[in-house]
Amino acid sequence: MVCDDVKRIVYFYLDGQVGEQKKGAITSHLKGCRNCDDRVEISRRLRQFIAKRLGPHSAPARLRTRIQEGFASLRGSSARP
């Protein structure tokens, strides 16, 4: 495991998608490589940041009403197969 390998799979490592052996190799590389360890930590924290800042945004109440009204009108018509 070299630094370039870590660069390439850092996101998939964070997703928990790398095999056990590879995961072990990354973990031991990170212990000895400050640069890579920082890189993984930055990506991990950026991901939290992105999820928090771009995450829900509740739908307006009027949208729920509109959807329910839409269902009602579909029920009322013969539009359903």
């Binding site: 997703d15 920082d38 992105i50 739908a59 949208l63 359903r80």
Partner: protein, 255 residues
């Protein structure tokens, strides 16, 4: 025996009970896709009505939320993206280079305070702008994976593409988004110490922007792109990330 009407009523009620909890998720993603609340509401409304009509096509045991997202994606393509857009050239190696420059220069400053949010002073508007700077296909995978928490396999199903393509887009989309956030952070002073990194300017892509309050130098921040992506030279949509241990036959570990 139930009447057909009673059966239909019951099915409708089942549908509403199953589907309505996803309205916030669908709306958030729709809002990020269309970039405005009116279009997002219309898109979600249409998605629900289609899903309601075709509920009998939903396969029991598969992911219902993913099914709704797939309908929304198709509706979006039909309504908003009929025109074939000019491919937008992305020099991904340039993105990786500029990412590396920031990481190498500023890594310790970026994570020196483990307790606080990484860029806690960054305005939501800038985070939104960074997301909007991604080509649509990349934005979609980032939203589906990192906001909605879908698996690679579910995303592949929603977007009708191979898992390898999802991974490739995720790699590039996340890298581009991180790169842009790091650039903003540097530009607007959220990375507090360390010397500012002098950026090479690329005249062909640099667009005029208002000067920031701090009066910092212009950098080649990518503006919102709505074009489809055409990757440079030999870059293909799929490449092998070698995530697996040395076990043949299995491409990726998905479960």
């Amino acid at each position: 025996m139930k009447s057909a009407e009673a059966f239909e009523q019951e099915q409708a009620w089942d549908f509403e009970k199953a589907a309505m909890p996803y309205v916030d998720s669908l709306y958030n993603t729709a809002y990020r896709m269309t970039r405005n609340s009116e279009d997002a509401e219309d898109l979600v409304q249409e998605t629900y009505l289609k899903a309601y009509k075709y509920y009998d096509k939903f396969e029991e045991g598969t992911n219902f939320k993913a099914w709704l997202f797939k309908i929304m994606k198709n509706t979006f393509i039909n309504n908003y993206r009929k025109k074939k857009l000019t491919p937008h050239k992305i020099d991904f190696s340039e993105i990786e280079e500029s990412y590396e420059r920031v990481i190498q220069k500023n890594a310790p400053d970026l994570i020196k305070d483990p307790e606080s949010e990484i860029f806690q002073d960054m305005m939501d508007e800038d985070v939104k702008r960074a997301l909007d700077s991604l080509p649509h296909d990349y934005k979609m995978v980032v939203l589906l994976a990192d906001i909605e928490g879908f698996s690679y396999k579910e995303i592949a199903e929603i977007l009708d593409c191979p898992v390898g393509t999802v991974m490739s887009r995720l790699y590039r989309g996340r890298k581009m988004l991180e790169r842009t956030l790091l650039e903003y952070a540097k530009k607007y002073g959220y990375i507090r110490s360390g010397e500012p990194v002098k950026m090479r300017s690329r005249k062909d892509e640099a667009k005029p922007r208002k000067k920031s309050a701090a009066g910092t130098e212009e950098t080649d921040i990518v503006e919102p792109a709505d074009e489809e992506v055409e990757l440079f030279a030999a870059e293909t949509e799929e490449f092998d990330f070698e995530l697996e241990d040395e076990e043949p036959e299995e491409e990726f570990q998905l479960e």
